[in-house]
Structures are given as structure tokens and as C-alpha cells.
């Protein structure tokens, strides 16, 4: 029982992989496919890893899907205006960061519930993105060097996978090895206790939202690089999947806190299920049903395990 409650999510992932490997030894279980999965999950992983920051301070950010879309459209728009790669990336990331800071500011300094604030912010950004793109998919003059950031291989590993790994390292470093990260977690654990112990509530919350949104913007840039185009609602689907991944990740370890490693595990489960079911020829809508069931099941297993303690 303790084994299940402690490593249940990891065992679940391995069980799912084993199941697909048995059902589809020639399709799913190929090394090339497994590497492909890491590429398919990379962008979701980056968005979900950003969410870890706001979950750490016990808040929600529902604007991340809109930020992914906004980053894509903004970058293609700027390329269309003749901007270079570096300034475009810098401005797009800064825009994402700034949106997050506004969210964090309003949420922490004026105590607007983050659920409401970020939902409204997502709507605003969605409108802005629509206006900037006139509602159309943008192709523009995306430089090939920019596209290479989101495609191809380096030393046999897909480039997006490398970015996702970098994101895991970044979030782990921030949360577990910096003072800011510990303060975020303390704030999320008990706001008043953290405040009275000297944790600066407003700056810490602003940084958490800023980092989350900047990572969503980074995912938007990579999505554009990967596809060679940007759609004004192209990133919206990331929102729910990212939260699903983070929640799966929270159930992964005993202490019940959001973590980078857990989130990666959660993303992997979602990606493996989607990939495996596609290879088995199961239609998309069934994949949604199964993904939902897996999320519920993982939380159930954990709760049963926790009760056994």
C-alpha cells in the first residue's frame, strides 16, 4: 500500500506503457515512437511546468492558454514587421511575463480571486490576439533559423524535447534550490504564516505569475517555430491539459506539493495515452474520455493510499 501511495503515479505510467507495448509491439513500442512521444509532450510540459509556479503559491492562472496563442501571433506579426529573431523572442517573452505580473499584482495586492482575474485576463488577451491577427492563421516571414528552434534533432534528440528538459531543470532549480522557490511554497502552504515570517507576499506572487506566463509564452514561440504558422486560438487547448498534468503530478509524490518532476510525469501520462490510443486507431473523442478517467483514477488511488497510512 505504501508503495502504491508513494509511487502510484509512476507505476501507473509504467503500466500504461506496458499495456500499449503489448497491444502494439510494432507500432507503439518502437524506439522512434517513444522518442516521438517526448517531442509531442514537450510543449505541454513547458506550459504545465509554468503552472507549477502559480500552484506553488496556491493560485490559479487560467490565462495561460490565451498567452500561448498570443505569443504565437505576436511573434509572427513582429516577423512580418521585419523584426529579427532575438528582439522578437525577447519582446514576446517580455509580453508574457508582463501579463503574468499584472495578474499577480491584481491578485496579491488587491485580493481579486485569481480564478476571476486570470479568466478575465485570458479573455482580454484572446481579444487582443484576434485583433492582431484579424482572426486568421498567420504565416508571415518566419525565418528558418527561428523554425529550427522548434524542429529537428540535436544529437539524436528532438529539439523540443531538449527545451522541455531545460524547463524541468529550470523549475526544479527555482523551486527547490532558490530562496524565491521556498518562499513561494511557504506562501502557498500558509499565506498568513509566510507573511508574518517575512515572506514578501506581493512580490513573490507577482514573480510566480510572471514566470508562469513567460513559460506559456515560450511554449507559444516553440509552437509557432514547430508549425511555421500561428493561429489566434492555437494554444487554448493547453489550458486544461496543463492543469490535468499538474494535478496528476501533485498526486505523484507523498507530500502533495506541486513539483517539476511530478508535472513531467503527469504530462508523460497524458502524452503516452494520446499517442498509444492514436496508434491503436481509437478515435479522438474516446481519447478525451480515457484521459479524464485516468485523472480521476490517479487521484482515487492516491486518496485510498493516503487513508491506508
Amino acid at each position: 500500500m505504501t508503495l502504491i501511495s508513494r509511487f502510484g503515479t509512476l507505476l501507473g505510467l509504467l503500466a500504461i506503457i506496458a499495456l500499449f507495448a503489448i497491444l502494439s509491439p510494432t507500432g507503439f513500442a518502437q524506439a522512434s515512437n517513444l522518442i516521438n512521444i517526448t517531442q509531442q509532450m514537450a510543449l505541454l510540459a513547458i506550459v504545465a511546468l509554468g503552472v507549477v509556479f502559480v500552484m506553488a503559491v496556491s493560485e490559479f492562472d487560467l490565462s495561460i492558454g490565451a498567452i500561448v496563442s498570443m505569443a504565437g501571433i505576436t511573434s509572427v506579426y513582429l516577423f512580418g514587421q521585419g523584426w529579427g529573431i532575438v528582439p522578437t523572442i525577447a519582446v514576446t517573452l517580455a509580453a508574457g511575463f508582463a501579463v503574468g505580473c499584472v495578474n499577480g499584482m491584481v491578485v496579491s495586492a488587491w485580493r481579486v480571486p485569481s480564478f476571476i482575474m486570470t479568466l478575465a485576463m485570458g479573455t482580454i488577451i484572446g481579444g487582443f490576439t484576434f485583433w492582431l491577427s484579424a482572426g486568421a492563421t498567420l504565416f508571415g516571414n518566419i525565418p528558418p533559423a527561428f523554425r529550427d528552434l522548434g524542429r529537428g534533432y540535436l544529437a539524436g534528440i528532438p529539439v523540443p524535447t531538449l527545451w522541455a528538459l531545460a524547463a524541468v531543470l529550470f523549475v526544479t532549480l527555482m523551486l527547490d534550490w532558490t530562496e524565491l522557490g521556498r518562499r513561494m511554497l511557504a506562501l502557498g502552504g500558509n499565506r498568513e504564516a509566510a507573511r508574518l515570517t517575512g515572506v514578501p507576499v506581493v512580490p513573490t506572487t507577482i514573480k510566480a505569475f510572471g514566470l508562469c506566463s513567460a513559460m506559456a509564452a515560450a511554449a507559444g514561440l516553440l509552437l509557432t517555430a514547430k508549425l511555421g504558422s500561428a493561429h489566434p486560438t492555437g494554444g487554448n487547448g493547453f489550458l486544461l491539459q496543463a492543469y490535468a498534468a499538474v494535478y496528476l503530478g501533485i498526486t505523484a509524490f507523498r507530500d502533495g506539493q506541486p513539483s517539476a518532476a511530478g508535472t513531467l510525469l503527469g504530462t508523460a501520462i497524458i502524452a503516452v495515452v494520446a499517442n498509444g490510443l492514436t496508434i491503436l486507431g481509437i478515435p479522438n473523442y474516446m481519447q478525451d474520455v480515457l484521459t479524464g478517467l485516468i485523472i480521476i483514477a490517479s487521484v482515487l488511488v492516491r486518496n485510498v493510499g493516503a487513508r491506508g497510512r
Binding site: 527547490d176 534550490w177 532558490t178 530562496e179 524565491l180 521556498r182 518562499r183 511554497l185 511557504a186 502552504g189 500558509n190 498568513e192 504564516a193 509566510a194 507573511r195 508574518l196 515570517t197 517575512g198 515572506v199 514578501p200 507530500d255 502533495g256 506539493q257
Partner: protein, 503 residues
């Protein structure tokens, strides 16, 4: 009726119970005594089926009694009233009484009249005049406590367990509760009564059992013992003896408040505290002692006046500036405002001292190795007992949590400690250790300012006594020439005067 022998229970590496014996007879009130952390709550949880003991036996009417869930224990006739109230504030008294029970029905729908009648019958049985149609949220805490007890008594209870029922009650309310307890015993019910108020125990209990460190160290009839012997039993083993009241210090000024008002409408105060002083602030609830400490700490901006620490003026708000100036603070409510109970002991202890354990001095990266070592040492010095430093803070007893809450701030550069109720809800031994820590800090040249609602603590710990009432300091004297009477008078009399001056 209930017999417990050799009961043992461990949590991880910590022995919570180790040889508990308890014999409760029908029709008698049995006082269960012991410091916090002595094992009272664990024992009660074994009785209620929340925990299962690892060893020993429990007999009910001579038959083995091993409740696996609270429902088992309830079926056997045990009723528990916990210290914290479990009422729905916007439900009326009688609605609350039925929460969790099978509602009476009439034609498949809830029989509201029947519900009301059953509960009012219970009230009458105990001769209580309660407005059962009032939402309990609008009742005093004492009334709510009584509703909670009546709820437990709606159907036949064989053993009623009351966990510190009078801690939050006024004298009058406590008297009502005592009457119910005696009446219940006269009906043949056994009552287990947990309390820290020995006067109360002497007055209403028939028998007693004292726990120390998870074991029964004494039991018998109240009539055969006295208050002092019970205190001696509860105090158990050795603990740091209290140093004699310290001499009034004459170090340099550490804290200076001038024309300082914690909140608008409050009369401003002036106060200076010198290095090496232990200043105790006493006052009744609402006297302003907590808000004074909080505004010194910068957690709530003061409305007027100036504050300086070590001669340097500080802004009205900003905890960071206080920490930089060498101030430490421990709030009165460690659970909701002091510690992150779900996080590890290490994380909690490290939080205010993160910059002390960096990998590289200039960068905010944590060296976990040095953090573990230093925090481990710090907690060991403060006598904090824990299984593993990565365990959750909630696994510690109240006394150990409190020692960690205060001890985590201790460092040589800290020169002013603000402690709000430093020993609330803490056992005798931890209390002595915390008091010893305060003396040690003062001896090293720091100033300690603590607030308390316990006169006993005020006069044992403080070198200088302040009494507050209505936000104003009404008494400021050395502990050498002071009497209880003066303190109580200063707390009550001037608060009345102050209220009159503030319509």
C-alpha cells in the same frame, strides 16, 4: 466500565503511548490530566477509533473493545466532544443536533417538527434554556459548546468524553457545563473530562488519571489527593528550573516607540526597551497587546508616531526592514499564523533564515547540506523533539511546534524578540524551556518583549511588567514591586476609563 491497560501506540519513531492504564467507572466523572504531548489526545483517538493501538488492551464491560472507526465507538455508546467546535454556523441549534444523524421522516420528507421536539426534549432533560431556533453562529462560544454537548447526548450515551470543554468558556458558562456533567453522572453515565484547570478538576471530578510521556503515572480518587500533588505528578521528570527574576537591565536602548499609535483612534504611547530586558505585556482580550506587537513587527502599519530599533528609525510598515534590523517575531496562533503545518520541519525552520544557508554568498541558492546541519543543531539546542527533520510540522506536539516557532529565529545578530503568547497551549516542560530560552536571550544582550494573558507567566518571566487596556499602557513597573492586585486593577479599571473617553 471501561478498562484500558498497557496501551501503546507509536507514530514512526515517536512513542505516543507507552503503557497507559485507565479505569473509568459508570456514574463517575474521571479527570484525564497531563501536559500537552503527554498522550491524552492519542489515547482519546484510540478510544474513538480514529487510531488503532499497537499494543495493550481495552475492555468495555469486560469485553474486548477495539473500535476500527469512529462509527464503531459511537455504536458502543461512546460520545466525544472535541475542543474545536464542529457546528454549522448558519444552522440553528436543533438543525445542528441532527447533522450526521438519520433525520426523522414523515411521508418520506424530513419531519421538522419532530426534529425540533426531540432536541428541545434533550434540553429540558438537562434543564437548559437555549433558544434552539437561533443559528449557532450568533451564540457565544460557551452556548455553542453546550449545543455540541447536547448533540452528543440526544440518544443514550454510556461514556461521554469532553476534551478541554471549558478552555474557552466564561466562569458562568463553565458552571453550567459542570452542572450538566454532574447530572449526567447521576444518570449513570461515565464522563471522561480532560482539563488543564486544576481548580475545576478538584471541584467536579471523582477520579483522576495522570499521563506523562505516554504512560500513566498516577491515578486514584480526587478526594484522596490535592492540587499540589496533582501538579507534581503532571510535572513528571526534571525540567529546567526557573531562574530567579532577573535584575532590571541597563543596556543600550533597543526599541523606542514615540507618540506611537497602533491603530487610528487609539491614544498614542511612548515606550523604550533596553538590551537585556524581558518585558511582559499583560492585558485582557482586545486590550491591544497583540496589535502593538504586530505593528512593532511592521505586519500592520501603525497610524501615527515613530519607531526605532537600535537608534535607527523604521518605516511604518514592512517586515523585511524589521528582520534587517535584527527583530524576530512569533505570533500567538502558531497553527494559522505561525507555521506551515503541511510542510516539513526543515522548511518551516529554514523560512526566516534562508539567506544564512546559501551555496554562494551573493546568490540566493540554497545549500541543503548546510541547511539540514544548521537547522538540526538549532532545533536540538532548543530541545525540539522530532522523528525526522523532513517530517511534517503537524507531526510535532504543540510544545515542540512552539519551541520550533520561536527557536528558528534565534541567532546572534537578533536583538529584539517579539513573542505573542509564547507558551499558549504548551505543556509544563516546554513552557519552562521557552522561559529558559528567553532568559538566555536576555542574558546575551537581546531584548525580549512578550504578550501574555496568563498572569502567572507574566510574573514568573518578565523583569518588567506592562499592563495594557484599551490600547494604552496603564502600568509599567519593575517586577520587584508589584502585586497581582495591581496588575488586575490596571487591566480592568483603565480599560473602563478608556472606553468612557471614547464614545
Amino acid at each position: 466500565m471501561l478498562e484500558v491497560a498497557g496501551l501503546a501506540k507509536r507514530f514512526g519513531g515517536v512513542k505516543a503511548l507507552d503503557g497507559v492504564a485507565l479505569n473509568v467507572a459508570a456514574g463517575r466523572v474521571h479527570a484525564l490530566l497531563g501536559e500537552n504531548g503527554a498522550g491524552k489526545s492519542t489515547l482519546l483517538k484510540c478510544l474513538s477509533g480514529v487510531h488503532q493501538p499497537d499494543g495493550g488492551r481495552m475492555l468495555l464491560d469486560g469485553r474486548a473493545f477495539a473500535p476500527q472507526t469512529p462509527a464503531h465507538s459511537e455504536k458502543a455508546g461512546l460520545r466525544f466532544v472535541h475542543q474545536e467546535l464542529n457546528l454549522v454556523p448558519n444552522f440553528t441549534a436543533y438543525e445542528n443536533a441532527w447533522v450526521g444523524r438519520r433525520y426523522p421522516r414523515r411521508g418520506g420528507l424530513i419531519d421538522w417538527r419532530g426534529m425540533r421536539a426531540r432536541f428541545s426534549g434533550t434540553c429540558q432533560r438537562y434543564g437548559l434554556d437555549i433558544d434552539i431556533d437561533q443559528p449557532v453562529g450568533r451564540m457565544s462560544i460557551g452556548r455553542q459548546q453546550i449545543v455540541e454537548i447536547l448533540r452528543a447526548l440526544m440518544d443514550e450515551a454510556r461514556i461521554l468524553v469532553l476534551d478541554e470543554p471549558t478552555a474557552a468558556l466564561s466562569e458562568k458558562e463553565a458552571a453550567v457545563l459542570h452542572r450538566i456533567v454532574r447530572q449526567l453522572a447521576s444518570y449513570g453515565c461515565a464522563v471522561i473530562f480532560v482539563s488543564h484547570r486544576l481548580e475545576e478538576v478538584m471541584a467536579i471530578a471523582d477520579d483522576y488519571t495522570v499521563l506523562v510521556n505516554g504512560a500513566t503515572v498516577g491515578s486514584g480518587r480526587i478526594a484522596d489527593t490535592d492540587r499540589d500533588r496533582l501538579v507534581a505528578l503532571m510535572a513528571g521528570g526534571e525540567f529546567h528550573t526557573r531562574p530567579a527574576a532577573q535584575a532590571v537591565a541597563t543596556g543600550p536602548t533597543v526599541l523606542a516607540l514615540s507618540d506611537f499609535a497602533a491603530a487610528p483612534g487609539r491614544r498614542p504611547i511612548d515606550l523604550t526597551v533596553a538590551a537585556g530586558e524581558i518585558v511582559g505585556i499583560y492585558g485582557i482580550v482586545g486590550s491591544g497587546r497583540s496589535s502593538l506587537l504586530k505593528s512593532i513587527w511592521g505586519a500592520a502599519p501603525h497610524s501615527r508616531g515613530g519607531i526605532s530599533i537600535g537608534g535607527r528609525a523604521l518605516p511604518a510598515k514592512g517586515i523585511a526592514s524589521r528582520i534587517r534590523a535584527g527583530v524576530a517575531f512569533a505570533p500567538e496562533d502558531r497553527r494559522s499564523a505561525g507555521l506551515v503545518m503541511d510542510h516539513s520541519i526543515l522548511d518551516n525552520a529554514l523560512l526566516p533564515r534562508l539567506p544564512l544557508n546559501r551555496l554562494m554568498r551573493a546568490l540566493p541558492f540554497i545549500s541543503w547540506r548546510s541547511a539540514r546541519r544548521d537547522v538540526g543543531q538549532l532545533l536540538a539546542q532548543r530541545g525540539v523533539k522530532y522523528g525526522n527533520i523532513s517530517d511534517r510540522m503537524s507531526t510535532l506536539s504543540g510544545g515542540n511546534q512552539q519551541k520550533a516557532l520561536i527557536g528558528r529565529w534565534v541567532r546572534p545578530t537578533c536583538r529584539l524578540y517579539l513573542l505573542d503568547e509564547p507558551t499558549r497551549g504548551v505543556d509544563v516542560r516546554s513552557k519552562a524551556e521557552i522561559h529558559a530560552l528567553c532568559h538566555a536571550l536576555a542574558g546575551q544582550g537581546a531584548a525580549v518583549v512578550f504578550a501574555t494573558s496568563d498572569i502567572e507567566e507574566l510574573v514568573t518571566l518578565a523583569g518588567r511588567v506592562l499592563v495594557m487596556a484599551g490600547g494604552v499602557i496603564t502600568l509599567d513597573r519593575s517586577n520587584h514591586d508589584i502585586s497581582r492586585r495591581m496588575i488586575v486593577e490596571a487591566a480592568v479599571q483603565s480599560s473602563r476609563a478608556n472606553q468612557e473617553s471614547q464614545p
